[in-house]
């Protein structure tokens, strides 16, 4: 039992946990028809519940999961999984139907019915049900209230509200101006631009994966992996000093993690060239700046001429570049993660003089 716990604690470290989730995510999407078969889905659900219940026996796990403000996160995890299952299940059925030349299920029942009383009745019922659930939840679980606010005693760890923990987790890899300002802005503009980027005319009004493979993969990657998974990591696995703790590990304030991260300039000038850092910041950071400039400004036109030729032509100049901007910025996070894990990379560009670190 103890060794299983240790194994899970070991697996839960970001360097193993995140790639694992990522691999599972892509495998699941690839085999979406298999994995959404009711029996398989039920088995996964049962497995998750058994894991959760057994884990609750562990004191450290229970301590974190049962914190009042963490309860909604568990609910969100289950609901997100369930809703994704529902959608993919129907997508699988529809895709199969359409392969056989049939209309999707949603088209079948497309006669119209009266809002009164049918829809009003359902809305009323849903409201009453959720109202009752909310009341029970509120009676059972007290809202948290800690000691009075004191600006002089910071708790350890200090965490943002749970829905922003993904952004806080990003602070491990990026400076606040990126993680807290630029990326959130790009998330919003990126989401808003989706309807204008997605030129695929099919897939309105019914679930389908096959017809919208790229759009759905990108969106689910952003939502399930970059948002929900990072929130989970930030909530359950980040303890004092934002150190990593496995789900069954005690949150020891004195745990020390050595900081061994170095900048790209140090890798190049010290490790490879062996010359020492130039004193001029521009000279020092020229490699990182070149890399970032190429990534942001060079890659899109290059790809438009090579690998993504058809795609770029179909999209047109503005659409293609807006899409690439958001896509590349989104991929910056996994790229930085991999560089951190492989090379202990701290910053590509580190112009600390101007707070300009990437």
């Amino acid at each position: 039992m103890e060794s299983v716990r240790h194994l899970i604690d070991w697996l839960a470290s970001p360097i193993r946990f995140l790639p694992l989730v990522c691999v599972i995510f892509f495998l699941a999407l690839r085999g979406y028809r298999t994995i959404t078969r009711p029996r398989v889905a039920l088995a996964i659900l049962l497995g998750a519940i058994i894991f959760y219940v057994l884990s609750l026996l562990d004191h450290n796990f229970r301590h974190i999961v049962a914190k009042p403000d963490n309860v909604p996160i568990t609910i969100m995890l289950f609901l997100s999984g369930f809703c994704t299952y529902l959608a993919l299940r129907q997508a699988a059925i529809n895709d199969e139907r359409m392969e056989r030349g049939l209309a999707p299920l949603e088209k079948e029942g497309s006669e119209t019915i009266f809002v009164w009383p049918d829809l009003v009745y359902i809305e009323f019922l849903a409201a009453v049900l959720v109202g009752i659930l909310l009341t029970i939840w509120s009676i059972e679980l007290k809202a948290p209230l800690e000691q009075p606010a004191s600006p002089f005693r910071a708790p350890n760890p200090s965490k943002a509200p749970w829905y922003f923990l993904g952004l806080q987790e990003m602070l491990v890899y990026f400076d606040p101006w990126l993680a807290g300002v630029v990326f959130p802005t790009l998330i919003i503009t990126g989401l808003m631009s989706i309807p204008y980027m997605d030129m695929n005319p099919r897939g309105t009004g019914y679930y389908s994966f096959k017809q919208r493979r790229m759009a759905i993969t990108l969106y689910l990657f952003g939502f399930l992996f970059l948002w929900v998974t990072l929130i989970t990591l930030g909530t359950f696995f980040r303890g004092p000093n934002w150190n990593f703790f496995g789900p069954y590990e005690y949150w020891d304030v004195h745990k020390v993690q050595p900081l061994v991260n170095i900048n790209l300039s140090e890798i190049i000038y010290i490790k490879i060239l062996g010359t020492g850092l130039p004193s001029n910041w521009f000279l020092r950071e020229i490699w990182g700046l070149l890399f970032i400039a190429f990534y942001v400004f060079g890659l899109p036109p290059l790809l438009a001429k090579t690998a993504l030729k058809n795609f770029a032509a179909k999209m047109g100049f503005i659409r293609y570049n807006v899409f690439m901007l958001h896509f590349l910025m989104m991929m910056l996070l996994p790229i930085k993660m991999i560089c951190r894990w492989l090379f202990n990379l701290k910053y590509f560009v580190a112009v600390t003089e101007f707070f300009f670190n990437i």
Partner: protein, 272 residues
Amino acid sequence: MWQKIKTHISESQVWKSVIRHGYPDTRRNRTLVVLSNFFLHLHPTKVPSHSLKLSYTWCMGGLTFFLFLVETLTGVLLMFYYRPVGEYAYNDILALREHVPLGIMREIHRWGAHAMVITVWLHMLRVFLTGSYKPPREFNWGIGVVLLTLTLLLSFTGYLLPWDQLAIWAITVGSNMARATPFVGHEGPGAKLLNPGMLGLEDVPLIHATDDARFVLLGGPFVGEATLLRFYVLHCVFIPLAAATLMAVHFWRVRKDGGISTPTDDFSQKAL
């Protein structure tokens, strides 16, 4: 006798001036009940039957709106017992829990807020996966994204109000990042460029800890009493007003675009 009274009432001028249709058991009256009621007319009179299926909509949009109403109701009640001032805020919350008969309102308000964040995410997921943002609904998706942001901001500003350690430090962590806003945060990239010294004039930075983006957000250089009042007003009035206005436009556009999305005929495999 009972029938007679009923007829007498439903034939009276007062009744007829309020409700202008008969009992909704005929096609005509079922249409009229939706058309002649301000609140029901958010709906069209008829909807495609698949839009009633829980497996299609997950009810998430409607539940988000319902939770917004719950939050409004409980929020207004809570306001009667809460003073947004450092000395009182925490004690008012304590008193609310211990003494006020409606103490559970705070729990409903807090868990309802968390639930609303979840339902709004899942509503967005549903809209995406059914392709309901495609033409002509592009702009309404954009309004939805703004509403999502406002929901998060509502929750964020409300998080501070209990004025306990959890609140003050979560907001401190969450708002510290504004310090690093490019150009207008005093620790943001480019902030030092906003300096007349760059033009050969006097070397005085324009952005300091006491006038940058974070200062404007918090009403001070750190999370303090000014922040409490500012977040209180943002939470109780400003953001809800903005959200309610956008919600009205959101619903209106859904209605104008023909209600919930329905399959077009363009789904054959060959068109792939």
